[in-house]
């Protein structure tokens, strides 16, 4: 029987990055994956394929609507969805095989099959062929991730009532596409199919879209998406979803009224839940919290000696990069080093157009915590590069501590917000102030100048706009 220092269950971004780090630290490491490909949800049916489709469809929109503004005349712009999907699959394939190479390169043993914890220090792997083998290990890291939440009255059928997984693989754009839940996944996939020709209607239980992001910017995003042709029904509670003869009827209450929506396909994107089925967690007595997440201490240790957990299966935002950082910290702790994750500086992004990115506290959250804050904002319509790009929508907003000027939060709505937010995250990681960012040279002309300007605006000294 093989004996390892660390066995990681799950090869998503949390698990495989933990495996790489473990390999780097010289630990004898194994990783177990139930699916054929490594990479988990993120690489196979999440972050990466959705970004492939978002970018492709965004290019289509450019060709169709934006190019003319630049004086580029393109006649007969059409979509070859088959080819678009093939490109997506190729991107996924490149990355998953890349992960496989990385495992090899870091001397990580890969097991294909369902990993089950038999006892502390003992894991069985049951392959798809039905063979079971047991491996021994000093430490186990649970990195089994999450799965889409199913509504009890709208069971996934994979054809008409679907999760994000299927919504990435439509072979044609549904004529009428209904999205339940206006979070990151709903907004992104709604955008994809809206751009590719679907009539998209989004139902949201809350009075706002993009919960967790800055309210002002979320409202601006909703306005942009509406202008792009998407329809939103907020404060709308879905009560029934019926699939008949390839059509779906969704019943919802909006205020006191009952509303019905007819659609070809319905995407249920109301969130994800931790996935630990078949893991054997209950058998060995691993404690879960009230939301069925694995309970850990600040060093990622479960209540059972030698068993750790990271990523979506524990508390916190279900984000690939959060899982990665936890994986690294967890392995470093196992190796006797001091790993840490700064939960105050984990960015979140919705990859619509414009993209919505945020890190740290929103204005509302700071006010709830009764923190005395200063706000600095700068709109992209006052940024030269944004105008040159014909991308004037959106703004940058900083939330800084009124006394110390420390940046507590940064929020960006812009076509390239996902890249722009990184700068604010870095400064926050070092406990930096808005002035630190404002005094840092930014090249001209770039969108990042708007980040600097918003930082300057915290102290009422933005340059290219009046300071109220």
């Amino acid at each position: 029987m093989e004996n390892f220092d660390v066995v990681i269950i799950g090869s998503g971004p949390g698990g495989y990055v933990a495996a790489i780090r473990a390999g780097q630290l010289g630990l004898k490491t194994a990783i177990i994956e139930k699916d054929k490909e490594l990479g988990g949800t993120c690489l196979n049916v999440g972050c990466i394929p959705s970004k492939a489709l978002l970018t492709s469809s965004d290019h289509f929109m450019f060709a169709k609507k934006e190019a003319a503004k630049h004086g580029i005349v393109i006649d007969n712009v059409n979509v070859d969805l088959n080819k678009m999907q093939q490109r997506k699959d190729k991107v996924v394939k490149t990355l998953t095989s890349g992960v496989r190479a990385l495992m090899k390169g870091n001397k990580v043993t890969t097991f294909e099959g369902m990993g089950t914890i038999v006892a502390p220090g003992k894991v069985s792997v049951k392959s798809s062929a039905g063979e079971t083998q047991e491996i021994e290990t000093k430490n186990i890291i649970i990195a089994t991730g999450s799965v889409p939440i199913e509504l009890p009255f709208a069971k996934f059928d994979g054809k008409t009532i679907v999760s994000s997984t299927e919504a990435l693989c439509f072979t044609e754009a549904p004529k009428k596409f209904l999205v339940i839940g206006a979070g990151a996944i709903g907004l992104e996939l709604g955008s994809v199919w809206s751009r590719l020709g679907s009539e998209v209607t989004t139902l949201e239980f809350l009075p706002r879209i993009a919960l967790g992001f800055d309210l002002e910017l979320s409202n601006l995003l909703q306005r942009s998406l509406t202008a792009q042709g998407m329809t939103f029904h907020l404060e709308t509670k879905v009560t029934a979803v019926k699939s008949e003869n390839g059509r779906v009827t969704t019943t919802a209450t909006k205020g006191n009224e009952e509303v019905k929506f007819d659609a070809d396909k319905v995407l249920v994107s109301v969130g994800r839940r931790p996935f630990s089925e078949g893991l054997g967690a209950e058998k060995v007595g691993i404690e879960l919290d009230d939301k069925k997440r694995i309970k850990i201490d600040k060093n990622f240790r479960t209540n059972i000696e030698g068993i750790y957990a990271i990523g979506d299966v524990i508390a916190g935002p279900m984000l690939a990069h959060k899982a990665e950082d936890e994986g690294i910290a967890c392995v470093e702790i196992i190796a006797g080093k001091s790993g840490h994750v700064n939960y105050d500086a984990i960015p979140g992004i919705i990859y619509t157009n414009p993209e919505l990115a945020g890190v740290g506290l929103t204005e509302d959250q700071a006010q709830e915590k009764k923190i005395d804050i200063c706000i600095g904002k700068f709109p992209f319509r006052a940024n030269g590069r944004a105008l040159a790009n014909e991308d004037p929508d959106g703004m940058v907003k900083f939330v800084a501590d009124a006394k110390t000027d420390r940046i507590l939060g940064a929020h960006i709505l812009q076509h390239a917000a996902s890249e722009l937010i990184a700068e604010a995250v870095s400064v926050m990681e070092f406990g930096g102030s808005s002035e630190d960012l404002g005094r840092t040279c930014h090249s001209h002309p770039t969108l990042s100048e708007a980040v600097k300007e918003a930082a300057l605006a915290v102290e009422q000294r933005a340059l290219h706009i009046g300071n109220r």
């Binding site: 200063c374 110390t404 102030s433 630190d436």
Partner: protein, 420 residues
């Protein structure tokens, strides 16, 4: 075991103070007797030392107001002193062995650590040594908040540089303009604003309280210093030889005041609620100006002390005051105060009472003036004397009697118990 570091009872009528500077940081190993922090009260700032050795864990920030008895830190004496040469070697890679979680080691910021842009600006403008500030950022780096706090704190210990403006969301233009001006030392600024130090604020409150509580009145007289000057000149050499320090004027005035207080006892007393407390001992406060404000150390049982002892006490206090080492007990419990505005050239002034005392004698500059003696105009070294007193318990006649007694003792020192 952890031993609590509490704010000691530093004197009567003092219930709180401000931790102005931590001399040791959280995580530092301290030895018994090491100065931990400076406690600043309205009377004095004093260094509080560690009573046992161990690893320090601080609970309050610099600049924070603390109450007597409050626990401001703990010292964990279960941890022993680090090996002689620690810091650099400690940073070498930890052995990776067992699966034990280790607490992240808190590294200290090194002196040459790069500073963030805002921190760079503030340390330059405020003349702060970055190495003297403890950082709260990643791996102990300095944040803007750290140096702002350090600047403000230094302000509070009496170094007069303007505070950089804090960012505000409110009225931008004017605010920003004021900030810039004050931050840059106010070249074009007609006014600059800075926060008063806690010591200054307390002094201010104390003085207003004195004015509002007592019925303060001042009476004046003058004295001819010829006799004392001659006596000093004649005795100086022998006195210095014998005692190793000079015979000054202050000891004469202390002795003269004691004679006068004996003649008019209420001036050596105080009001407490509805009672009058008569002090039958003579603890005389001698006001000393320092860079950080006026302090009044107290010469104990002055009536029992020789001139030489008095001069020695005063000299010792002057040194302690300059070095900021006066203790609270040096400053409390006086029954009467003597203030010498003459050292700054004051010809005449009305001193303010030091509550709860009932009297204060003001000495002034000695000036040669034309006076009439025996029907002739002669030149004499003269000093005006002022007695401020609490009219609630002392009548005008008593106050005048006091000053005349002082005058007579100074003009004829043989009336004093000369012992040199």
């Amino acid at each position: 075991m952890s031993v609590e570091v509490k704010i000691p009872a530093v004197g009567e009528s003092i219930s709180s103070g401000v931790v102005s500077v931590w001399h040791k940081k959280s995580g530092d190993f301290v030895n018994a007797g090491d100065a931990l922090f400076t406690l600043e009260t309205d009377k004095v700032s004093t260094e509080i030392v560690a009573e046992n050795a161990g690893v320090l864990e601080t609970n309050v920030d610099e600049g924070q107001e603390v109450k007597i008895g409050e626990v401001v830190a703990t010292i964990d004496d279960s941890k022993s002193a680090p090996a002689a040469s620690d810091s650099t070697e400690k940073k070498s890679a930890p052995e990776k062995t067992e699966a034990k979680a280790v607490a992240p080691a808190k590294e200290k910021s090194t002196n040459d650590a790069p500073l963030s842009p805002a921190v760079r600006r503030i340390v330059e403008e405020e003349h702060i040594d970055p190495a003297s500030v403890s950082g709260t950022g990643k791996d102990g780096r300095l944040t803007k908040g750290d140096v702002l706090a350090a600047a403000q704190n230094r302000e509070s210990v009496g170094d007069g540089i303007a505070v950089p403006g804090k960012p505000t969301a409110s009225p931008p233009v004017t605010e920003a303009a004021t900030q810039d001006r004050s931050a840059s030392g106010g070249q074009d600024g007609r006014v600059t604003r800075k926060k008063m130090s806690p010591l200054r604020r307390k002094i201010a409150a104390q003085l207003v309280m004195a004015q509002q509580t007592a019925a303060i009145l001042t009476t004046f007289n003058e004295c001819d210093m010829s006799a004392v000057q001659k006596l000093r000149a004649d005795s100086q050499e022998a006195f210095t030889k014998k005692n190793g320090l000079k015979l000054g004027f202050m000891s004469f005035f202390i002795k003269a005041s004691i004679e006068a207080l004996k003649a008019v006892p209420p001036i050596n007393g105080r009001i407490e609620d509805e009672d009058f407390i008569q002090n039958n001992f003579y603890d005389i406060g001698v006001a000393v100006g320092t860079e950080r404000g006026l302090v009044v150390p107290v010469v104990r049982d002055a009536e029992k002390k020789s001139f030489a002892d008095l001069e020695r006490d005063i000299a010792d206090y002057a040194v302690k005051a300059r070095e900021g080492k006066l203790k609270i007990e040096d400053l409390t419990g006086g029954t009467f105060t003597i203030s010498n505005g003459g050292v700054y050239g004051s010809l005449l002034s009305t001193p303010i009472l030091n509550p709860p005392q009932s009297g204060i004698l003001g000495m002034h500059k000695i000036m040669e003036r034309a006076v009439v003696v025996g029907g002739k105009v002669v030149i004499r070294p003269m000093m005006y004397l002022a007695l401020s007193y609490d009219h609630r318990v002392i009548d005008g006649k008593e106050a005048v009697t006091f000053l005349i007694t002082v005058k007579q003792c100074i003009e004829d020192p043989k009336k004093l118990p000369l012992d040199f």
